[in-house]
């Protein structure tokens, strides 16, 4: 009995998140139908979303600057009033979920996703109470050919540094990624904190027991500077890492 009551309550919650405020959507739109979240793939670094619009571009210096944190698990749609293709959980790797908005239409926001394939994006219906929103004016621009990283805030450069990138067999992938979380490592010891990105290696399906997630971190010695030596990760000095870990989650990382 209790289970059925709980399920009934869950349906009501789903509906509130996904189909309230239908003034801009027609009643026939997919977004007005109650969505069964239990059938949708949760987006995280381990999953792959099919049917997502791909936004692999990297636009050095451009961003809406807005990031959102879902207050409840939210359905992700393939387009405005489209088909639900995945769901956005409220946490990622133990940290609150924050995703960057790359486009808006009405009260819909297109956000970048942490799953494969690289560049996967999806649309969230920002009905009242669905998510917290904040302004993140930082952008990290990575230039692989020049082995350099620049941190920009509201268009102003805060610094440019030499980095290391993926070796030729396992290059750092190109595109527009974002910082998923800041992890204080308890297992590996080459970097006190690792910033996993939403992008994955294009050449490695798995690595070290993980999903081939590309990250930003430091290294025990400076042998990586100006060189392609990692298996995809972007390596920075400890000094630079200390600056990057203070950035908000959802900060965009453009990789060219």
């Amino acid at each position: 009995m209790r289970l059925i009551a709980a399920f009934g309550a869950a349906i009501v919650v789903l509906c509130a998140a996904a189909c309230s405020g239908g003034d801009s959507s027609s009643d026939n739109s997919a977004a007005s139908q109650p969505v069964d979240l239990s059938k949708l793939t949760e987006v995280n670094t381990f999953t792959t979303v099919s049917g997502a619009p791909l936004e692999p571009r990297s636009h050095v210096g451009t961003s809406t600057g807005e990031v959102i944190h879902p207050r409840n698990v939210l359905p992700i749609y393939d387009r405005v009033n489209g088909k639900a293709i995945a769901k956005l959980p409220t946490t990622q790797m133990g940290a609150p979920s924050w995703v960057p908005i790359i486009a808006k239409q009405g009260d819909w926001a297109e956000v970048l996703l942490p799953s494969r394939p690289n560049g996967a994006a999806g649309w969230i219906h920002l009905t009242p109470g669905a998510a917290d929103a904040a302004q993140d004016n930082y952008i990290i621009n990575v230039d692989r050919a020049a082995f350099s990283m620049e941190l920009v805030e509201s268009g102003k450069s805060l610094g440019k540094w030499t980095i290391g990138t993926g070796k030729s067999e396992h290059p750092t992938p190109v595109g527009q990624a974002y910082i998923i979380a800041a992890i204080e490592e308890t297992v590996t010891n080459y970097s006190p904190i690792i910033l996993p990105l939403s992008y994955h290696s294009n050449s490695l399906e798995t690595f070290g027991g993980g999903a081939g997630t590309v990250g930003i971190h430091t290294w025990p010695n400076n042998s990586f500077l100006g060189k392609p030596s990692s298996d995809g990760c972007i390596r920075v000095t400890k000094e630079v890492l200390d600056k990057l870990v203070k950035l908000p989650l959802g900060t965009i990382v453009n990789i060219t």
């Binding site: 393939d78 405005v80 808006k104």
Partner: protein, 223 residues
Amino acid sequence: MIPLSRKKIVAGAIGALSAALVASVMFVSATGATETGGNSAFAIKAEGLLKIDPTPSVSSTDNKSLANVDLPNGLGFAKALNASASEGKAKASVADLQVNGAAGLPALKAELIEAKCSNDGHGSSALVNAKIGDHPLKVDVPANTGIDLGAVSVMLNKQTKHADGSINVTAVSIKVQGVVALEIASVHCGPGGAVVTPQPTCPTACPAAPPAEPVKGHVAVTG
């Protein structure tokens, strides 16, 4: 000499491409032919001795992706093809493209080729790590940048504005006189069609995003 298994793969790829073509014939939007409203996009197209119908192709609000396409006759491949159009804009992109220099075509390699347009008449193209033969291409080229390679003429960020205010943008257009015309990442944005004005995300300015708070744990990343 092509091993049998590779022949089968190529034939299979052509078969798959042809199957896709049949489906997409109904939605073909040839560049320049559509002058009245309706946004459309396609990732790759070829006409002439090499024929590839617009793939994937969308017209009106839609979004299609293909993980990869093998070009016929072992001419190369394209990955992560995407074509999307909505009421206000259109975008087409191809990641990881390789066209082998053959059938009159120059060798073309790119990590990303993308074209976009919006209903206000703006269009742009982006080419990341792209080369034609040994000639590297800039990421942002001005509209209608031509490269003359003798019998081959190349136009980058080809933009055509029509009398009705609509715009076509093709990121890479290659013509080999009398042989083939290849287009990569092409979009069309028409006038009309309601542009859905974005609503502000926050009632006034959004508050500043908080700095990350590191959490103890483990994430396996690629070193």
